[in-house]
């Protein structure tokens, strides 16, 4: 898709969030405005505890912002919306459900009949490469496989926008690289608008069409990078390394 025909899918307007902690108001997100384009892979990059997850929770409707508005396709919305799905950071798989049970959870809540939701779930289980594990329980799976279930579960609810909150943060380095390749493959096969939060610069440059760099607390938009490298990207490519260094030098260090 040519980049000049960009259509805004999700618009955040002047989003601010703060909390009252010990009788003091603490700012977490300050005046963030972002446009997310249709079927774009957007990475939100920022130091630890800078309010990235808060921003994602606000988009997903898990938190209500103090100020600001959200729009999908130019129409304002509040709270959670079924056009938005989420892959959680901590493995929020239901331990009492099998892989199939977890993946079909969304359609089931939506009241989809059993045969249809089985078919949907099976499609995404196959897509994430878990064919044959439908009857396994989460505790029988490795960390990478659990995260695949998480991705399949989010996809199965057929959202238009997918939020990913540091999904690979707790995986070991090798698995992480594999999963980064996988999420790219899955996204290219089933295009969605993805908003991917991470604190890992290499991951951000490897995955993102654009990177939104946030400042440290409270989170503000510090810089936006467009990355036009062809996929799959080579992490040793000089251009890749140059962008990586540029982002790296601009990133705030967190304590």
């Amino acid at each position: 898709m040519p980049m000049d025909k960009k259509k805004v899918k999700l618009r955040l307007e002047n989003i601010s969030q703060s909390y009252v902690v010990n009788n003091e108001v603490r700012d977490a997100v300050s005046n963030v405005s972002i446009d997310v384009y249709d079927n774009e892979f957007l990475v939100i990059l920022g130091p630890g505890h800078c309010g990235k997850s808060v921003l994602l929770n606000i988009i997903g409707g898990l938190e209500k912002p103090v100020e600001g508005n959200k729009y999908i396709d130019g129409v304002k919305f509040t709270g959670s919306d079924k056009r938005i799905g989420m892959v959680f950071q901590r493995l929020a798989l239901m331990p009492w459900k099998t892989v199939m049970g977890n993946v079909e959870f969304g359609p089931r809540l939506a009241g989809v009949d059993k045969a249809t939701r089985r078919k949907i779930a099976q499609k995404y289980i196959d897509l994430v490469g878990l064919k044959g594990f439908e009857k396994a329980y989460p505790h029988q799976l490795s960390g990478g496989m659990k995260q695949r279930v998480g991705i399949a579960r989010a996809y199965a609810n057929s959202p238009e926008i997918l939020l990913m909150d540091e999904p690979f943060g707790q995986l070991d380095a090798q698995t992480r690289i594999v999963m980064e390749e996988e999420i790219q493959r899955i996204w290219q096969q089933e295009k969605r608008t993805i908003i991917f939060v991470t604190n890992n610069i290499e991951e951000a440059v490897y995955l993102g069409d654009r990177i939104i760099l946030l400042s440290k607390c409270p989170a503000r938009v510090k810089q936006i990078y467009e990355i036009n490298l062809p996929r799959p990207r080579n992490t040793m490519d000089p251009e890749f390394l140059r962008i990586r260094r540029e982002v790296s030098e601009n990133t705030d260090l967190a304590l």
Binding site: V20, N23, E24, V25
Partner: protein, 280 residues
Amino acid sequence: MAQNTKTRSNQNNERIALIQKQRKRTQVQNTMLAASGILGFILIWQIAAVSGLVNSRYIAKPLEIVNLFIVKLTDPNPDGAVLGVNVMSSLAVSLSGFGLAVLIGVPLGLFMGWYRGFDSFMRPIFEIIRPIPPVSWIPLTIVWLGIGLKAKAIIVFFAAFVPCLINSYTGIKQTSEVLINVAKTCGASNFTIFRKVGIPSAMTLTFAGIKVAIGNAWATLVAAEMLAASSGLGYMILMGRQFGRVDLVILGIVVIGAIGLVISKLIDMLENKVLGWKKL
């Protein structure tokens, strides 16, 4: 700009005040709900007693219980002892049984959890005794020890002993391997590690076991006193039943419950003091 920050800080203050107000409101609301729960219960009780829906042979008015409580402080009738004597007698039994259970159960559990040979020797005996409910020891203890303090204390002991042993056993089994290895590299002997690493790490669970144990002790005491005693609160209830004095039975239940509550509160306080380091 200065004005801008000022309005903002004003806004913040308003927000804090609002949140505090809300918090206070829920607190008041919860207290009201709790009080109305208890009051509602007493009201239903009163209505049942006054309206004659329930025969007065079977129920006493709440106020009559309070009256009886005052009378019973000085009047030994009909069970032969004033309330204070009954309470002291019950406390003596349950505390001696409970104390014995802690003194024997906790060290036994710690040693069994640490030394494998001792464990494999003691375990089967414990597993044989464990499923036998304490109450069923009553006939044997009566035959062996009569119906005095010792017999009842033994029954209470059986009830309190099991949680003491199981929890200290599990607690010391869960000692972190890392801590043990640290101690080993410092050249500590097995017994020193047991004393300095094993026992402290087992303390949290042991305390939880002691808490369960004292609850068990107090609960079993009633059974012991109903089946083999000539004084104490359990005996008082039983006598109330035999003389058809429903008020005495209810008073006994209330007093037993109240003392049980006080004991568990005391243990909670003690736990907070001893295991203060647990809370960061």
